[in-house]
Structures are given as C-alpha cells and as structure tokens.
C-alpha cells in the first residue's frame, strides 16, 4: 500500500491541513513509486518543498512555486470532491456519500463528518477503502489533539492550530504503521 | 401516662473567629401550661453558647497537649442545670457546632404509639414518627444521654454545613474573615431549614437524621 498525500478541508471549504509522503515526480529524478503525473488529473502527489532531490540552485525559487502549487492542488482536489459529493447526493439522495474514485494512476478516498469536515486521501490504485482509516484519524487524532486542545482555535484559518506536534506525530505514526502492514 | 424525654432546645453554629453563624431555638414542653415554648429566652441561649467557647478552647488546648487531634466530638461541654446540657463538636477548620439539649424537652404519651413531633406549638413539624418506638424505649431505660448519643446530630449538622459550602454564591471568607474577628451570619434558607429539621426530629436513640 502506498499513500501519496492527505488533506483536511473545513466547513468553510478551506484546506486546513495537507501532507505529502512521497517526493513529487520530476524530470530529474525518477521515483520508484508509481505516482500520477500532474497533467493527468487534479494533481495528486503535490510538490514538497523539502525534497532532497531538488537541485539546490533551484530550491529557493521552487520553494515558492511549490507552495503555490500545493495550494492550487488543494483547491483543485476540493473542487473535485465537492462537485462529486453534490452530484452523488443529487442522484442517490441526501444520505448518500461518495467513498472513492480511481484513475489509472491513483485512488482518491473521501470521508465527510456530520460537522462538514472533509478528509481526502490519495493512495495507489490497489488500496482498499480508507474510509475507516480516515474515520480513525478523525476520532483518535483530530478530536483528541486538535479539537480538545484548548489553545488551538476553533476555526483554522490557513491551517492555524492544526499543525501541532501531537497531531503531526500521531498522524505520521498511524500512517507509517498502516504502510508497514 | 406521659413521659418526658430529651429534645434539642437550641442549635448553634459558631465560626472560626468565635462569631455566631447561625442560632436556632426550638420550643420545649412546658408542663405548667401543657404547651411547647422555648426553655430560655434568645439572649440566654446566646450567653449559653458564648460560655461554651471557653470550654472549646480549653478542650482544644488539652487535646493538642495530649496529641489526640484538634477536633471532633467534644461530648458534653457543660451541664447548665438539671435540664439543659450543651454538647459540642469542632471541625478541623475551626467551625463549632453546639447542641443544647433539654432533658425534659418533649412529652411522649406512654399509652399509645408516640408521635412526639406531632404535638405542640412552635412548628414542631414532621418529626418523631419513625424514631418513635426507639425514643420511648430509650427514655424509659435511661435518664440523661448515653455516650455518643449526639454524634448523629453533629454528623447531620456537618453535612448541612458542607452542603452550604458547596453553594458557589456562599463566600466562606465573608462569614469568618481571615482578619480574625467578626463575620456575617449565614442567611441561607436551605441551611436554616436543615437545622430546623435536625432540631425538630432528633430524639434519643436515633441513628439517622
């Protein structure tokens, strides 16, 4: 199982958390993993500014563009899942929810809570449903470390308060544990 | 045939600064008029409670010297006359509870099941019924009170006092300021009602209040 990236969107449709686990594909480095290319879809495997494979000469410039691209990716992903979700509801009724979709290159998993928090995860195509995994992230990591942290704001404008150490650590551990299995 | 048994004539709660927090007087049976009236005037009860303070102080000092703890049930503080006797209890925080018992405070009719609380004036309300049998038995067998007889009263008073302290709007500092003198009286209606219930219901031999 390979997990490419993970996003959380709040009820104001803003991307409040994103994380990528794999270096982005680039012309210079060939990744051993099968990562979808950006022109194929809405941009899985978004740029990672700390990528060690980057040419140091380019890194300053690319850090800026990478950040821009990451936020663009997030917007694209949200747009996609939002439209899909609405379409699914229109066809299948208010209680229906879409779970995942798959392309030739990757699989996108979607999970939405009743409080309109949306979790999105991109994995390789062979991965089984990650809905449960995201539910666990919501219950055990999000609720425990972010919501119950009294110093973290309720609304996370620009991801404020979400990037706390415990959440980060817990998420990493959880995902690493999953991949190892 | 009617028997006279002990009842509570007055309950006093005294603060850390030896300031009166709450005093409630209960009527006793008066054979001359066959009615329930207070055994003493309010002023006399106040003086009586004041006079117990010296005993508290003395006992506390003696206990401290003997190393047997600072507080708890002090038992009989002093017997005023052949009718009235004052019993005391002090908490670790210096709040004192005093119960003045009238040894012939309540009339129980020997012939029928006694309903001590039912008779009389002065709002002797709901008492007696449950403990009636015990009351009569205790009264027949002993004159005066046995050791530890008042424990249940102080337990109940302490419970009521704790309940009072749990009220967030009750400010203990207001009632026994750290300056070491003075303090306001307790105005809580619930607390007063609890005290009234304890004073009216208690009789010798009771184990629950």
């Amino acid at each position: 199982m390979v997990i490419y990236s993970f996003y959380i969107f709040d009820r104001h449709t803003e991307c409040i958390y994103s994380k990528t686990w794999l270096p982005p594909p680039s012309a210079a480095t060939t990744s051993q993993h099968d990562i979808p290319t950006n022109n194929s879809t809405s941009g899985a495997g978004s740029a990672n500014s700390t990528d060690p494979h980057h040419n140091p000469m380019r890194s300053a410039r690319s850090a800026v563009s990478a950040a821009n691209k990451a936020s663009d990716d997030a917007k694209l992903i949200f747009g996609t899942v939002f439209s899909l979700r609405n379409m699914v509801r229109k066809l299948g009724g208010e209680d229906d929810a879409f779970i995942s979709y798959r392309t030739a290159q990757y699989k996108l998993h979607y999970y939405e809570t009743a409080s309109n928090l949306r979790f999105v995860m991109l994995t390789d195509t062979g991965t089984l449903s990650m809905r449960n995994v995201m539910h666990q992230i919501y219950i055990n990591l999000w609720c425990e470390y972010v919501v119950k942290n009294p110093l973290s704001p309720v609304e996370h404008k620009g991801g404020a308060g979400v990037r706390n150490e415990l959440f980060e650590l817990g998420l990493n551990q959880f995902i690493t544990g999953l991949i190892a299995r | 045939m009617a028997t006279l048994i002990p009842s509570i004539a007055c309950l006093g709660v005294i603060g850390r600064n030896n300031n009166p927090l709450h005093i409630q007087i209960f009527p006793s049976y008066d054979p001359a008029t066959n009615t329930y009236i207070p055994a003493r005037t309010s002023l006399q009860f106040h003086l009586l409670l004041s006079s117990t303070l010296d005993v508290f102080d003395l006992r506390a000092r003696r206990n401290a010297a003997a190393g047997v703890g600072l507080s708890g049930d002090f038992g009989l503080l002093h017997a005023v006359d052949d009718r009235l006797a004052a019993y005391g209890f002090e908490t670790n925080t210096g709040t004192k509870f005093v119960a003045v018992v009238d040894m012939r405070g309540r009339r129980v009719d020997g012939g029928r099941a006694p309903g001590a609380g039912g008779i009389g004036v002065g709002g002797v309300g709901t008492g007696g019924g449950a403990g009636g049998g015990q009351v009569a038995a205790a009264a027949a067998s002993s004159v005066g009170l046995r050791e530890g007889e008042m424990k249940v009263v102080f337990k109940a008073m302490q419970t009521a006092y704790i309940k009072l302290l749990q009220n967030p709007f009750f400010d203990p500092d207001e009632h026994s300021p750290l300056t070491g003198s003075g303090g306001k009286k307790i105005t809580s209606k619930k607390f007063a009602a609890d005290m009234r219930r304890i004073g009216e219901n208690w009789g010798p031999g009771m184990t629950v209040l």
């Binding site: 009820r11 104001h12 449709t13 917007k75 949200f78 747009g79 939002f82 208010e94 209680d95 809570t113 009743a114 409080s115 309109n116 928090l117 919501y138 219950i139 999000w142 609720c143 919501v147 119950k148 309720v154 | 309940k163 749990q166 009220n167 967030p168 709007f169 009750f170 105005t187 809580s188 209606k189 619930k190």
Partner: protein, 192 residues
C-alpha cells in the same frame, strides 16, 4: 433513529466510552465560574447570562466533534424531531448523565422544550439573595450556548433560552429550543 434506540445508544456510550470525573469537581468549577462572572460584572445578570451563553457556544463548537466521534454518527438526523431525541438521549446523557424530557413541540416541529428533572450543574446552588438574581440570572445558561454552538456546527441555526429554573423557585427547569434555519453548505470561492 427511534427514541428507544437513541436512549440505548446513549446508555451504551455512557457506560463504555466516557471517562468519568468527580461530580463535585465539575459542580464546584462551574459554580465558581458563575459566581466569579457575577462578581466581575457587578451582578449585572443580563450580562452574566450573555457571558455564560458565549462560553457555552465556544464549548459547543468543539464538543460536537467529540459527540460525533463518541457516538459514531455517520449521517445527519433526518428531521428536527430526531435531532431533539439525539440531543436529549445521547448528548446530555453522555456529557452530563441526565436525560431531559422532550415536550411542548409546536405544530410546525420547529420548537421544543427540554425539561430537566435533575441538573447536575445546579446541585447545592442557592441564588444570591439580592432580590434580582431570582428574576434575572439563568444559572445554567451555559447549556443554551453549548447547544447553539454544537448545532451550528452540524448546520442548524437555533435559538435557545431557559424559560424556567427550579433555582428561581419554578416547578421545573425548562429550556426552549427553536430551529431558525438549516445552514447551507458553504461553497468554495470562485477562482479568479
């Protein structure tokens, strides 16, 4: 979800998934907060009510996530009546271990009352004897805010207020909840 199923769910969560804490600690903490706010606002009880509601609102915004996580709620209530059942039999059950009675529905199913037979927040409390607190202070007003905040997060705008309180000498403690509207999904901003 039916009423009996909801109460079973509440009971189950309360028994298995809730960490318990000493009740006196909670009661004293809340009581002290209210008493302190009264002091801070010089017994302006209207303002105290407002502050309590605001605090509750901020709690509600967070508490809903915990509620959803603990109750494993995967879908929305299908109507406001179901929402009421879940609030009373699951929400109040798991956080306060009480189950208020739902009554006095209006015919349009948008307004109901929660009647509290017991109110753990108000144990031991006697309102100040200043002649105004009895008429102006809603001691447990924080609950109104909690409900308002929590429901807003699941896209229901409600109006909540107490209409009676045993602390004031009323026979019951009753909270009125009114559904104002369902909040629409927010749309992503248009790209420019």
């Amino acid at each position: 979800m039916s009423a009996s199923k909801a109460s079973r769910l509440g009971e189950e969560i309360w028994k298995t998934r809730i960490e318990k804490v000493n009740a006196e600690l909670v009661v004293l903490t809340y009581g002290t907060i209210v008493a302190q706010i009264c002091k801070d606002f010089e017994n302006d009880y209207t303002e105290v009510n407002k502050q309590l509601d605001k605090m509750g609102y901020n709690i509600g915004l967070r508490l809903i996530e915990d509620y959803l996580a603990k109750s494993n709620t995967m879908r929305r209530c299908s109507n406001f009546r179901e929402t009421a059942e879940m609030i009373a039999k699951v929400g109040f059950k798991i956080f306060l271990n009480v189950t208020p009675t739902i009554t006095n529905w209006t015919s349009d199913n948008k307004q109901f009352s929660l009647v509290f037979d017991e109110n753990p927040l108000a144990d031991f409390v006697e309102l100040p004897d200043d002649g105004r607190a009895q008429d102006e202070l809603w001691f447990s007003n924080i609950l109104c805010g909690v409900l308002r905040g929590a429901l807003e997060m699941v896209q229901m705008q409600v109006e909540t207020h107490f209409i009676s309180d045993v602390l004031r000498g009323n026979d019951t403690t009753e909270m009125r909840v009114t559904l104002v509207r369902y909040i629409d999904d927010e749309l992503p901003p248009e790209d420019d």
